[in-house]
Symmetry: D2
Subunit: 312 residues, 4 copies
């Protein structure tokens, strides 16, 4: 890994430095508090991991602690749905950046119930609908998929988060019913939301997340398990959508300043794909106003700058 031009130090040491610098930043951002189970996470948690396609995992800080992956689960859901549905999926969800908040109902109305992309809430609920319709138990299938990718049987749902999500899920219910009213939801709304809240409530560590997504950096082939998770073409495609739409309404700025396909979640996690090299995961709970982890952004920006990782 010292082969990274500009790393100037073993990668593990670089991660430690970058994490330490992030901890020195003035206290910025707010831990998500729309549900109590998230609000109680310690704001000072901070970890970073870089899994490379040759099998190494470098890490610093709290990279081994499980956290609520929240919207990062949309990546797993999308890949699983692409495996199952093939190109039919793209009749029901778009691939364009939204230019709107992640939970906008306005745009869904304009576009007649077709979500702009699979990484806004409406899009992920649509993807959940396809999973519910294709699997006898979509939740079990989802969990098995994530465990297989991460090679970790420990990955599981946090029941307190799950219960909270369901209790505070009125806006997601509104999105789902609006899609139903346009005829773009097949399963029962209740079942679809149950799946959606389930996958949002999954907990994983930085290390597990980074390992599990290596196939996206490796043309669809998981380097650890040897499983061809997607075609090379579909791996490019997922990375393309991550690049234009993965970081909420800060996706353009992330492309501009970092230049990697990435996805964030309100639990404070961010995953970034480095095509041909590996996957970075950062985690720290305080969020900026766009819903992205402030320390997570700082760490990934610094690391990508040092190593010259921008794909552009």
């Amino acid at each position: 890994m010292t082969a990274f031009p500009g790393a100037g130090a073993p990668l593990g040491q670089a991660l430690e430095e970058i994490r330490a610098a992030a901890m020195l930043r003035p206290d910025e951002g707010r831990v998500a508090d729309y549900i109590p189970a998230l609000a109680s996470v310690e704001a000072s948690r901070c970890g970073i991991a870089f899994a490379t396609i040759d099998g190494e995992v470098h890490a610093a800080g709290d990279a081994g602690l499980p956290f609520s992956i929240q919207s990062i689960s949309k990546v797993f859901g999308l890949v699983l749905a692409m495996q199952r549905m093939g190109d039919d999926l793209w009749q029901r969800v778009g691939m364009e950046p939204s230019g709107q908040p992640f939970n906008s109902i306005v745009q869904l109305e304009w576009e007649h119930g077709i979500p702009r992309n699979p990484f806004i809430n409406a899009g992920a609920i649509l993807v959940a609908d396809t999973l519910v319709s294709h699997f006898s138990s979509s939740r079990q299938a989802f969990l098995s998929f994530v465990r297989r990718l991460s090679a970790s049987e420990r990955c599981d749902v946090n029941e307190a988060v799950l219960a909270s999500e369901a209790r505070h899920g009125s806006r997601n219910a509104a999105l789902a019913y609006l899609m139903k009213s346009f005829g773009n939801l097949e399963a029962d709304v209740e079942d679809v939301l149950a799946h959606y809240f389930f996958q949002c409530s999954l907990e994983m560590s930085c290390e597990e997340l980074a390992r599990s997504l290596l196939f996206l950096a490796n043309r669809g082939l998981h380097p650890l398990s040897g499983e061809q998770v997607t075609t090379p073409r579909d791996a490019h495609r997922v990375n393309a959508i991550l690049s234009t739409s993965g970081m909420y309404d800060q996706s353009g700025q992330f492309a501009f300043s970092v230049g990697l396909p990435a996805k964030s979640g309100v639990g404070g996690g961010i995953i970034a794909i480095v095509p041909g090299q590996g996957v970075i995961t950062a985690w720290s709970p305080p969020l900026n106003r766009h819903g992205n982890s402030t320390r997570g952004l700082a760490m990934i920006t610094e690391l990508a700058g040092r190593l010259g990782l921008s794909i552009y």
Copy 2:
């Protein structure tokens, strides 16, 4: 250039094949007709060029004929403004994909006169405002810049197109006055629009365009002239915005299916940057409903697929 993996033939021959295949497609799309000077261009024109950073230019079909570059001029305008203004520019224009039509006035209203990015019309008009304010003659400065980059003194404005643009420019005037009402336009609206219509009316050939933009594929350094046009960082940034916002409301789909930073114009031109390798330009007048050249899209998609050019 035969080094391209998968090219399977000298690049020039591949371009000929790809162009021939595009010509066999059923007649799709409509030549832009909002101004007479564009409507009169022959729909059967079709050219493609691939300039590489080692100085070669491969071409097929009408790649040497000048055409109206229209919105592709926004790339030159942005680069020139970045040279002059540095990071201050990004106080006045955003870098997020818009999720709206290129000439949307709705979004500009919501966002209080700050255009979402420099490649929608409002954004390019904002960029024009900075050029008008920074140069004694912004039009002359713009023309000199493009001629230097393309190493072609022939590049010039089509006066008939220019006159037409001004006569049919009411929507752009509305965008400009709306920005003015929000205090985000410094110069006189008339002067700003005059510059904007001027740059839109420029004519260049595929070969000239491809050559002129090589610096974006080469970390800001123009390989032919040796001029450092932008910093490496700014070259990444321009490519990032091109990737998320360059192809109108088809930017996400282009990233998904091609995977290159690109910009199109309603004259039927498309430029695509291949970082580290070169620049592709395609031209054919008939447009799809998004305003992108149908044959141009087909040719670039095929070429990028054959050569495995996706950056994702």
Copy 3:
């Protein structure tokens, strides 16, 4: 009643003429077909009634046949909620015309879950929430209220319509959940929607409807029962909202061409209040693109013109 200036004939005869003229109009409009139970109503049905505050009811055609009152029920719901909640109601629902389709979710989002007025769907669902919260059985209370006003125990819900509404109610569910997400819905969404669909499914005849609403033409005092249903001030207020917002996105045009407070429903009914004189009800199923009965509009326009009823 021959005292109406310009009537030129006994009122009953005028109604017959007007109805006959309406039946000769070329077949315009479409019977509502979003639920089967409405689609099966005969398109040729056509009735009109004029109840005056001195107790007479003049009628022509199918004025004695019950039909699905649909959104006209929003008037009863509003009056019942005003009785119960007083001015507190107006903290939770506005009184401004919407300028948007009756079932717009966009506006509800912009206005943070506060419906613009009680006659768009979101507003009526909000009103239903207050009824569900204030009555042990809001549906029974609603039915009793309507039966008392119309002095007809026959008024009842059509069970087939009710079942259909619930099955096709996804958009209304989306509106309700969106209000819930903004904290502007107190009761369970399911209960609120059950009440809302119940009241929409009520069937009444033109004669019953006209009689039941006489209090709005008589400063709140029901001339037949002697019940002071609302204060004079609240009767003015209901008529004011009917005038600005009662006819969907044709309210302005109805004020312009007729000039009476009115409310329509997709069952083909229209009620119009003539302050100081009485209530007109027209019914005929085919609707124009705004959701208003084409023959109903024609009949009321003609009658108001003949009798000079405009309040403006």
Copy 4:
């Protein structure tokens, strides 16, 4: 005039009382300051006038002082255009309430350049376009019209206000150019705006305004001059649009709490039509957040309540 039921005192005395009460209200609202010429008006100015169709004018306070009528001029413009164009006018401007701010450009875009009604800015600019197109000198024609109606040669434009309006008119220019881009503006944008700013800059007193609009309370016949200014039908129509759309985004609330056709301007004036009786004008510069005079609203609400003037 003592015949008003409930006046309980000669009308002149009632107006004095009402004005005095309004002056005691805590200082609410802000004088319009978007142009200096308006910002310099004394906030303590306060007048009210009631002209009756039998020729009397009752007044209190500053009812004889000229003030900037601003958007009240839209009523004169509309009536003049209706005289000239007849029903053709309604092909180019709607009659529906807008549910949006008076200067919204969003709605104009959605509705393809057809303004929702003649009392929002876009609608009044459209009306100005028809006047510019129909008169050799629309400004002179407009001024003559207002002077004739008010029987006051003194009515004139304030040149300082006019110059200010033009300098701060970018948003109105944006509206005009957007309509032009949709093909819904015939004359030159510059000429149309010049007319529009001219009519906005007119100064009249409460007494002059009340007298000039008496024809709207009298079925189109001006009781002082004997001129049939509009047909009875068109007088109803103007009052109908005033009722649904005259008080900016507070039109519904004004109908609800006052119940009279009315129009306000950011100069602090409000006119209210009392059909069959007369015209009330109130003036006091401080505005609420909707752009309506706070004292003006208070005075008209009180007067209408005392005299039972609601039309509903």
